[in-house]
């Protein structure tokens, strides 16, 4: 017999599936302004999913995620505008460049322990932004616009172009969700979750945590890079401070994930939705927007670390998207043992 929480859960899962399907057809029923907003939402969602994967599971708190978004933007410009490749193949290539840059970046920042790693990633982002400002072909410090020919190659009519960019963002967000879902369901994901909850647990499962963290760090880079490419298609411009915007691609993202619920699959989605609702209704607040989000996220950390989703989750029997395997008996027992006599 279905209980109330189970009924609510089934309802939410249905709603989630319905929204995803509806979103796939977005350009057919949304007006152009809405298409632009949902496209922005989807690219921010990708960034949020990636940050959550790193901070919420892999114990890599980065405040330099904007680095790879910017690298993606600049690489996309290089492939499409400078090398003359078509914009569609430039997107995965931008992701590839982000991945290549991520390797030395990772080697450097992984030398720092968790607490310091955060700032290490910021330094790397700062360096990449400063270097980007030195690239004369990319317009130097003031940046440049995407050539009109590339814009037109996406579609003759503006609405067609918006739809194309929308579907690219949709595809990337869907891919980000799929990849995270399967990663978290895999042995690696189970190991990371175990490490987060209880360090001995991870060793018991036998997952090599260092390798799992490397995989996560390198895995997120191409997604961030491709998001940067899509954001550039939409903004039609690159410039160091805008393409490597710490506020847009890191600060807001962190707040969204924290508020939505860090370390859960649903958290980044909820946080990004809340952010867009707030932005639509509170856009006149300006800097107060950030002050409010900052305060709100500190309050969330103090009161309910699992964010809005953690609060809401208490009403449900299970996650909407169940990434966690059911808790097993041995984990509980080992925690008891370590607690009793130490």
């Amino acid at each position: 017999m279905p209980t109330a929480p189970n009924l609510l859960l089934s309802g939410l899962r249905l709603l989630f599936a319905a929204v995803v399907i509806a979103m796939a057809a977005g350009p057919y029923f949304l007006d152009p302004t809405e298409v632009v907003i949902v496209t922005e939402f989807l690219s921010m969602l990708v960034l949020a999913i990636m940050w959550n994967l790193l901070a919420g599971y892999a114990d890599i708190v980065t405040v330099g995620q904007h680095a790879f978004v910017g690298v993606g933007a600049y690489a996309f410009f290089g492939f499409s505008a400078l090398a003359g490749l078509d914009p569609y193949s430039s997107i995965p290539l931008a992701g590839l460049v982000a991945l290549i840059i991520a390797v030395p970046a990772m080697i450097l920042v992984f030398r720092l322990r968790t607490a310091y790693l955060a700032i290490g990633t910021w330094v790397v982002a700062e360096v990449l932004m400063l270097v980007a400002g030195k690239l004369q072909a990319w317009g130097g410090g003031s940046g440049t616009s995407l050539p009109i020919s590339i814009v037109l190659s996406l579609g003759r009519a503006r609405n067609d172009r918006l739809a194309v960019i929308y579907w690219l963002a949709f595809a990337l967000a869907a891919a980000a969700m799929f990849v995270t879902y399967f990663l978290l369901r895999s042995r690696i994901g189970v190991g990371l979750t175990a490490m987060r909850d209880n360090e001995e647990g991870a060793a018991a499962i036998g997952v090599n945590i260092t390798r799992a963290r490397i995989l996560c760090f390198l895995g997120t880079a191409p997604f961030l890079g491709m998001a940067g490419a899509i954001i550039t298609m939409q903004k039609l411009r690159i410039a160091p401070p805008a393409s490597f915007s710490i506020t847009d691609f890191t600060v807001f993202i962190i707040f969204n994930v924290v508020i939505g619920g860090i370390g859960s699959f649903e958290g980044p989605i909820i946080g990004t939705i809340v952010y867009f609702l707030l932005r639509e209704y509170l856009s006149e607040l300006g800097t107060w927007n950030l002050i409010l989000l900052g305060t709100f996220s500190i309050v969330v950390i103090l009161i309910e670390r699992r964010g809005l989703w953690g609060l809401f989750r208490r009403l449900l029997a299970d996650d909407i998207v169940p990434v966690a395997h059911k808790p097993t008996q041995p984990a509980v027992v080992s925690r008891r043992l370590s607690a009793t006599e130490s």
């Binding site: 008891r336 043992l337 607690a339 009793t340 006599e341 130490s342």
Partner: protein, 240 residues
């Protein structure tokens, strides 16, 4: 200055200790008189260390009363409890490795009970000449036995009325353990009560006036070591 009901200096009455929902200690009663040596024995996981943590104010959730010198100390901070005259020699010694021997000892003095301190640095140097020679050496560079001396010295300099010793023989050579255990009666002679938690049953029963055996968070046997048979102890130790 003593517990009204039992006349003991430390009286643990109907105490349960929880970690989350897990009950590590389940309604136990234990007492230690002034200048009395009491030994707590029990298998791994029986709740021995948890008991010490509850007394010193480092357990998650404690129910019941723990009275010391007539006051209930449940809910007080470790700082207050130490200042009132209980000091712990932690399991594994837990010295501060980058501090010198003297600095480690001084921390005991700083946190300890104020007033008529009859144990001073001079006593520690006299008792442990090897530490005197190494005053300025980093504690992390000492041998295990020397570290245990510092840990014991640190606790004594806190001028306690009750000393809690958690596994002081662990990982030490028998000769060193003999030396440390030889000190126990001399500490007792100063009127200091001692609660010893030890895996080495023989050793701790040899010095104890009374003992309690814990099994799965409950007292399974108690009395004077001379009054119980070895078989009884073993039966209540393993619960078989």
């Amino acid at each position: 200055m003593v517990d009204a009901d039992t006349g003991a200096q430390l009286a643990v009455k109907d105490v349960s200790v929880f970690y989350g929902n897990f009950c590590a200690i389940n309604h136990i009663d234990i007492s230690v008189g002034a200048g009395e040596i009491v030994s707590i024995i029990g298998a791994n996981g029986a709740g021995k260390s948890t008991l010490l943590k509850a007394i010193i104010g480092q357990a998650d959730r404690v129910e019941g009363t723990i009275s010391f010198a007539g006051d209930d100390i449940v809910g007080r901070s470790t700082k207050e409890i130490v200042a009132s005259g209980i000091m712990l020699v932690p399991e594994g010694r837990r010295l501060f490795p980058s501090l010198t021997v003297e600095e480690n000892l001084r921390l005991g003095w700083d946190v300890g009970r104020k007033g008529k301190g009859d144990i001073g640095f001079a006593d520690i140097w006299k008792q442990f000449p090897v530490l005197d020679e190494r005053r300025k050496q980093k504690a992390g560079l000492l041998s295990g036995g020397q570290q245990q001396m510092v840990a014991l010295g640190r606790a004594l300099l806190a001028n306690p009325q009750l000393l809690l010793c958690d596994e002081i023989s662990l990982g030490l050579a028998p000769l060193v353990v003999n030396e440390l255990y030889a000190l126990i009666p001399r500490i007792k002679a100063r009127g200091i009560g001692i609660l010893i938690v030890e895996q080495d049953i023989e050793r701790s029963l040899a010095v104890a006036d009374r003992f309690y055996c814990l099994l799965e968070g409950k007292v399974s046997l108690s009395g004077r070591p001379s009054e119980v048979s070895r078989d009884d102890v073993i039966k209540n130790y393993f619960g078989i």
